[in-house]
Symmetry: C2
């Protein structure tokens, strides 16, 4: 099997391909393509009839679907799960930063104690879209003695959660929103999850609770969120992803006393490449051994 | 046993006294005093010959020692350990905020990704003064798969640390400084720990490493720290305590691109009172049962 890394060459990913026992080849020769450094629109440049498998570099695939680049006859694998721990760590950082009002401290030029300090220990944490990232977050939260409420697509009980509801269980989602001190959004961006956190959802949240979004911007209705924050309806929002993204310069969410904007850095490049290289090595090894690949894209589900 | 809460009355602490089975009394009647809401200099106002035991509200006792208020013939107990988990949670929050550059994000008015993002997972964490807070921090860090290096007074191996050195083991402390991605200071403020982190210590730290101080300000040489941060010698510093404290308005550490100043809020009042009430209840119960009290002050050790 010949594997090409492109459209932009990436030495760590190429090393992973070789470490897994495959040979590097040109785009035209290769039956496997490790996509790196280009927009999905450029897929046609590297596509050819003998191409069998494409490893995508991100966990989300909505840009690929939107670009019509998920060609039939080719197996696509996303990097879903590969960055779960890195993103979960960031999510916990955002929870703690919000709980301890670190954004206000960071902005201060004098010694003044913010109001509204809370703890994560003993809190109730609701995870909407409890997949790989949610599972990693539950692991990180274990020593905090929190109560975890979860929502996922299947409703299959999530390990470490005291309750799990199906994402289409309206009452269950409402209970999660009403009970949680922290609502963490980690669901994939699909038609079903668009504006999942709208004005009504925000209104159901506990006063003082924090919303954390480490999934995709469109899952939260930005306008409704700004209104809820302005009104002090919830404690705050820590967003690694926004809608629109990037957020325009000077947007009210920047510098908002109840908001922390992290510019899509839950999975920063410095931590992403090593994690992606591990996933590439594992999937190339699996491909050579004829084992099932990790992260095979389900076009109908949208992830 | 009659117990007085003062000089300022505090209903939650009074409830804890009663819950433990003791009776509330006036300052003049009581043989036990739960100190709350006053400077140590005011101790003489509530002191009297029949007073046997004073429960102090803080983990550190240096202000009591400095005020000469630790009268012989009275047993003093500090609240050491009572706030360990709360402070450890804050320390982890500061580590994550620093690692993920959340202070820069909090200050931004536009979408721009900071450089120097790092992870806590897999890092080496050095804890100087690994007592109650250090132990709680090690618990919180367990799922991160970090390597912990510890320094304590006895050199007795710290649970969860891969190495423990005595605080007077100069080579050991140097090794901790040189190896750690995060150096967390959690030692009591004594004559021996003053300016423990001076220019030489900062110089031994790994480039890019973060210093976190959740102990007392005088353990870190502020001037040397500012110089190290200005020079980019270390990744950054997250300080819950400073020297001087409060830090004067507009001090260069506020808004420093490599610093996060948290104004002595690792143990905020909202979380402190419930934790202190639990400790008061436990110690009053122990006193009534003739069991050893928690946190008995050792005047010669200074904590």
């Amino acid at each position: 099997m010949k594997v090409h890394v492109g459209p932009v060459a990436q030495p760590e990913l190429e090393a992973a391909v070789v470490a897994a026992g495959a040979e590097l080849g040109s785009a035209a020769d290769a039956t496997a393509l490790i996509w790196f450094g280009g927009e999905p629109e450029r897929f046609a440049e590297l596509d050819h009839p003998a191409l069998e498998w494409v490893q995508l570099p991100s966990a989300g695939i909505e840009h690929w679907a939107a670009a019509g680049a998920l060609r039939e006859g080719v197996t696509f694998t996303s990097a879903a799960g590969a960055f779960a721990q890195t993103v979960a760590e960031h999510a916990l950082g955002l929870m703690l930063a919000g709980a301890r009002q670190m954004h206000l401290m960071a902005r201060a030029s004098k010694w003044s104690r913010p109001e509204g300090m809370r703890g994560v220990a003993g809190a109730t944490v609701g995870i909407i879209g409890a997949g790989g990232i949610g599972g990693s977050l539950i692991e990180l939260l274990r020593p905090f003695g929190v109560r975890v409420l979860a929502v996922n697509r299947s409703g299959k009980p999530v390990d470490g959660a005291s309750a799990t509801w199906r994402s289409d269980d309206v009452e269950g989602v409402r209970e999660l929103l009403a009970e949680s001190d922290f609502v963490v959004v980690a669901a994939p961006a699909t038609a079903a999850t668009a504006r999942l956190i709208d004005a009504a959802a925000l209104d159901r949240m506990k006063p003082g609770a924090w919303l954390v979004n480490v999934a995709r911007g469109p899952l939260v209705d930005t306008e409704a969120l700004v209104a809820a924050l302005d009104a002090g309806r919830i404690g705050g929002a820590a967003l690694d992803v926004t809608d629109p993204e990037p957020l325009p310069d000077g947007h009210p969410l920047f510098q908002h006393p109840r908001a922390i904007i992290s510019p899509h850095t839950a999975n920063p490049k410095s931590l992403m490449i090593p994690a992606l290289a591990r996933r590439v090595e594992e999937n190339v090894r699996r491909r050579l051994a004829g084992e099932p690949l990790l992260g095979v894209v389900d076009r109908s589900a949208g992830y």
